[in-house]
Amino acid sequence: MVMVLADPEMLDRLAKSMDRKAGEIPRLKARANTLQAGGEVSGLTALAAWLGVTARELRSRARTLRSPSESRFDSLGAFDLPDTLARQGKGRGPAAELKKILDAHKDGPGAHRGADAAERRAQAVKKYFSGLSRAEQAALAAADPELVGNLDGVPSEIRFAANRMEIQEAFNEESAYLKDLAKDDPRYLRTKKRVDTLRRFMSPRVMEKKDPGGRRVTVEVPRQFLVFDADYGTVGDPKSASFADGRVAEVVGDLENAKKVLLRVPGVTSRLDGFDEFAQGGYDLVRAGYGKVEDPDTAVISWQGYDAPEYGDSLDPEKAVAGGKALAEFRSGISVNLRKDARVDIFAHSYGTLVTAKAIQSGLKNVDNIVFMGSPGLGPGINSVADLHMPGTKFYAMRAPEDFVSYTEGHGKDPADFKGITRLATDRSHRHSEYYKEDSESMNNLQRILFGDTKELTFEHTTLDEEMMGAQELRMLVAFLRAKVPPDVANKMGRDLDPILQNKISGRAGMTDLIGPIQGVLDKHQMLDRVTPQELQKELVALSGSLTYKQTCKAVEEIGAPAWVARAAGGSAMLAATKLLDPASHLVAKGMELERLMNDVGDLFSGDSLMADGVRTVGAAFDLLNQPGWSVPYGRSGR
């Protein structure tokens, strides 16, 4: 484990282990005495006492961690901030002054908007704070932590302290709510996960670094939240949660002095309760890339600062537009607190790549490197690096084998295929969620970019067919449907189509197994007039033929046949597949006719899928039609 948080369960286990060791000491001493070696183990008594004391301390700490209860002044103390003025309630005056400054920078007719406005506002905030003493800054944070914690331009440690106060408040409120929830309540698990996450936010984390003598040391440090708002956004899944998804940004490292600053942007289903899973990638990045200790010159911001969609609305770009604006403003806003010469990179994953593209369209600037991972596309009209209009930024992309999101291109062309992009290797990463996997080539490449070792980058040039047989056909199928269905309906259909297409990716379904379920989705969304069953079947038959050709070619080539033989085998396979499907599909499309035929020949072929249904119709061709040209060595089956 790389990110070690002070986990109460772990502390309890450690305490138990210490008690056990202490309990063994009397026996060891007795044995030593028997062997007349008691003098040589005289230190055991002291060791037993130390173990006992330490175990008690650990248990006490575990209790604290289980139910953190920290005053606002304690929160200031966690970041070594003075609390004298805060205790006197001296923050109210500055808070009122700060609000006046913000009012002067509010968006309105004729006012500056967007990223530039965010930077100007942050500059004004920074200027105001620079006129306050640390004690006054701390008092202001305690007076209005919600405002101060999320305000660009505020010194980062003041934000960290303010957000810690807000986290405590959210923890108090939500843990009280959890107590009243029955364990079989559908909201219980998500709420508990969220309360556990908030508790961990309050717990220190273990940081490994090198001391001035170059020795590796381990220290506990408070977690640093640059953004925290438990009530932000929508309730992603109201059946299993009562709270909004929230927004969070955590910093690993010394943000204001770092020479390299990384912004990480996550994708769908990003919620407060799952934040630590996302944050782990940030810890791994900054640590493993520097001899397994944290690089003092690097700061990573795991920015979950937008209302991410669930799978069901992931084809809707609306949240990406809002998120992109927020990201562009955040980037500009924090710039006033960074070193002037700090290099800033963005690593975006999944829907987060679309958010980043929207940020670019909202005026995102001053980014040195951007990496798109597992992208569903960057939106309409963005088909090359040139379309991003950021000539000073270096763009990279990754697409791991079997990454469903990249294959389906739900929001446009996959940036991994862009002209002008540098596509990076992802060896040992698979599917959609392993780009930050330790020791994978994707992680290695991310670290090479982060730490400036770009000469060591490794690259990828695989085609879809080389990555996963059927990926190309899946991409074509999605493109076919998107071309036929209005965008707003396509967005809504995403929830229903995703599991069907994922069945194909996982190998649980063949191409024609998709006909029925897709037709069902089209029917549900009243799109059967836009995509008729005949059209859908024709498309799937063509895609099946293409896939069959490739699969057979590959199989034959892999056992050593020459390429021309493999192509012939592929051709014969495509012919067989399309011929098999063609009459079947034709008849399947004519539902009533199929039903009649099936009734007639049900005893010859039977099965439970549309494909089997289709083949029954082939059987019908043999057994019923018995037209000229057919040679049947036995009579019609008895009925």
Binding site: G510, A555, I559, A561, V565, S572, Y634
Partner: protein
Amino acid sequence: MTGAAADGKPVEGEPSHELSGEVRAVLRSLFPGGTVLDVPSGISRESVALTAYDEAEGRTTVEITGDLARQLRGCGWAVADGSADARNTGLYAARRDVGGGVFGVEAPAVTFHGIPVRGQNRGDRPTPPFRRTDTSTR
């Protein structure tokens, strides 16, 4: 030849199901010195696919198609071969209580795609990665 164990993994020496075995027998007769192998089928979970080829084969596509039809009939298959020509070289064929499908021909290869009758160990077929199941070379 390949069969399937209880865990679904292919086992050398026994057919995965009857349709596969029947098709394989026909293809081996058609290409006595050639190669027969199971290939993955992207069509459907139920479908069976086998490919046979012989790179030393001298027959044309139409000739192979004709020989295949005769071979099938000789083995008790029902065959629809009325339209076999150089551009349309697929044979619909079915065998009672076993299954049916289409043989596609493109010299020097033949591929079968079809569906077994229910009860023919559906789902026990070897799944990709596909394997060579019956190979001999001249």
